[in-house]
């Protein structure tokens, strides 16, 4: 797979024009959890950001929340908001980058020059005029992407990989000039989301309507919740919870386990809760096919990402959605009004775009809630012994970090990353991972140009 973060291999068996079996294989092992052992716990929030250069602030956020929890500290209001602003800016970056630069070329025909050629041929359905506009937007979106990273850097220090979030809060005391600088930049991004990104998503969707029924997946969804709206974390912009076997359930992190029967890790480490988890590689294990473990929630595969968050939160959608669905613009429609359409390639892409607007609009308010000139961070001391966890939502799904500290050093650190949920292999019970399940039944017209296979995989933003 190209146009994703990292190394992922997908193998499918096709019979009678449909996918009948699928394997999702992580093909890279770096061993971050092993590297983190015996280090100063505060270093974790820097090191883990390098797990993923597309969503470093996701790992940064999970890590500082994990350390807050273990150290027993609570960030002041400014710290909470600055973290939300750094992370929110990176959300905007990640969602825009995904649509325009990672996913779009499966629907939009690029110009006849590298890196747009070579390409697969056969299923580009956009009217040439619309296609041309989309290519121009590809270029415009590169500029927007770069500007969202300016926003990340305003309080993050730089982007990608930020310095601005630490255990106890954030590093910079907000100043009015920085607040205005961020607000000013945000207006341009908001304008792009409202008047370019969202309408284009629905425009493209209109030409590929059948993809609202392709890539259904496991229909179990989990969200850890993200963007706390108050210092006691009574509510989040995007809520936590799960939709398991058709039922809405509150989140319980004790229900997370990682299985490794089909992963290149020691079998005796299977089925553990991450707080007790271990990472012991076994590179030649028989039957294993991935370096990704298989995390399960309530012992079932669960999908993470914008679809899960939007389903769990069920917010009101933009007027572009009304227009697309042919519903009077005065009527409020919510995400679940999409019904079964939500569980599809285009359902995920629309969820991502709608969520992008939701986050941008919320950030606009958060900026003005900062208290200039007052601290963003509390002082911390590394505890001699402690345990903790930090949950958040990466742009691409549920993300949790678990730590145990002994003699002021990291004794164990476990990361259950977003794409690990979605791109996981089979579990010990034999259930396929969410991407694998979404691939089954996918129609493939031309084996030599397997568009729908990559459309399904990329709809998860792996």
């Amino acid at each position: 797979m190209t146009r994703i973060e990292g190394h992922l291999k997908i193998e499918v068996d096709i019979e009678g024009g449909k996918v009948v079996d699928a394997k999702s294989m992580g093909t890279l092992f770096r061993g971050f959890e092993i590297i983190l052992k015996d280090r100063d716990p505060r270093d974790a929030s820097q090191l883990v950001q390098r797990i993923c250069g597309v969503c470093p602030t996701a790992h940064g956020t999970a890590s500082v929340r994990c350390l807050d929890n273990a150290f027993g500290v609570k960030p002041p209001t400014n710290g909470r908001i600055i973290r939300n602003l750094i992370y929110g800016s990176d959300y905007l970056m990640s969602h825009i980058l995904h649509f325009y630069h990672l996913a779009a070329l499966d629907y939009v025909k690029g110009p006849d020059t590298a890196p747009f050629i070579p390409r697969y041929e056969g299923d580009y359905r956009l009217d040439p005029k619309i296609n041309k506009i989309a290519v121009e937007q590809y270029i415009k979106a590169l500029d927007i992407k770069q500007k969202t990273h300016q926003m990340v850097a305003l309080f993050g220090g730089r982007a990608p990989i930020v310095y601005g979030m630490v255990v106890g809060g954030a590093t910079e005391v907000p100043t009015v000039d920085k607040m205005i600088s961020m607000k000013w930049r945000l207006q341009e991004i908001k304008d792009f989301i409202d008047n370019t990104y969202l309408p284009t998503v629905y425009l493209v969707a209109g030409a590929y309507r059948d993809l609202f029924s392709v890539g259904v997946g496991c229909k179990n969804l989990v969200s850890f919740g993200v963007f706390p709206l108050d210092d006691d974390e009574k509510s989040f912009l995007l809520k936590s919870g799960s939709y398991t076997k058709g039922k809405d359930l509150p989140l319980d992190q004790a229900q997370v386990k990682e299985y490794v029967k089909y992963s290149f890790y020691d079998d005796k480490t299977t089925g553990l809760h991450p707080s007790k988890g271990a990472t012991i590689s076994d590179h030649n294990k028989k039957g294993a096919y991935s370096y990704v473990k298989a995390p399960r929630y309530r012992d079932l595969p669960h999908e993470g990402g914008p679809l899960s968050r939007m389903w769990v939160t069920n917010p009101v959608l933009s007027k572009h959605a009304n227009k697309f669905l042919g519903i009077d613009e005065k009527k409020e429609i919510r995400f679940r009004d999409l019904g079964g359409k939500a569980f599809s390639i285009l359902g995920r892409i629309a969820a991502r775009a709608e969520e992008c607007k939701l986050v941008a609009d919320a950030m606009d308010k958060w900026i003005m809630e900062l208290k200039p000139g007052t601290p963003s961070c509390v002082k911390v001391e590394v505890p001699k012994e402690a345990e903790g966890f930090g949950l958040t939502e990466a742009p691409r799904g549920a993300l949790g970090h678990w730590i145990s500290i002994k003699n002021q050093k990291i004794e164990n650190y476990q990361v259950v990353a977003a794409t690990i949920w979605n791109a996981s292999p089979k579990d010990d019970m034999g259930n396929l991972g969410p991407i694998e399940q979404a691939l089954i039944g996918t129609p493939v017209k031309d084996i030599k140009n397997p568009f729908n296979v990559v459309r399904v995989v990329r709809s998860f933003d792996p």
Binding site: T2, G53, A114, C377
Partner: protein
Amino acid sequence: MSISRREFLKYCAGAGVALGTSGILLPEIVGALEKAAAGNPPVAWIQGGGCTGCSVSLLNTVHPNIADVLLKIISLKYHPTVMAAWGEKAADSLYDMAEKNKGKFFLAVEGTVVTGADGKCCTPGKFKGKEVTFIKLMVDMGSQAAAVLALGQCGSYGGIPAAKPNPSESMGVSEFFKLYKIKTPVINIPGCPPHPDWIVGTIAHVLMFGVPELDSHGRPKLFYGTNVHDNCPYRSYYEEKKFAKFFGDEGCRVELGCKGPESNADCWKRGWNNKVNWCIHNSLCLGCTEPGFPDSFSPMYVKTTG
């Protein structure tokens, strides 16, 4: 138009700063580059044990913008994160390009060379029908390239994947080439991630004037030739012995753990993300351009002794 190397260096080192932009390449230089790049030299960008952060950083280039870099300056024949093709079509195109441009193309390497389990821990995919490890890809591509740009800490020196106990047996490109006796010249562009100007500026230098002058760690002196602490805007606080004791305090950051004194890079004048901020203004320098990062600079938030 054409510009001399001297002028180019002047622009890279200071003119952008004087004009209040972070851009290293002004429009006239882009024009000259386009001319120098006539026939667009092919660049292949491959990824080993990395996080894609170097690519994401490159996308943040402002002057020239990334669209100009990709469409006018270089011909990016292979890049897993941006290319249209996927699967075998993508993979095969890399080998075809190398065959056609033997000794002429430039290879950018992001991520470490993962050598653990005979390279099995990092297998970028099937190339020409065969499962290929990153080790094999590095041997095949590295030996045929005109020069290699080793990107970031990972490509340069092994970075975080090679930190103790180095579970994936990762290493930087130079170390790998030494082991496999590959003689292709290597330019290190460290940083975790590197500043986009360092990547674009080095590529520009190579295309227009050849390999730039390198320091003892294989980095272009142009970008890594000055000490952060010696040039830091907070240096006068250090002389006055006024030290920040906590994030947000005024003062020199060494007591927070700042690694500026051991670091050589031009962040102090270049700034980050169109100059909106940089690490020490925000909090501290962690030494991410230096060989030995992160182990030699750990713990990060503790004052370095000596």
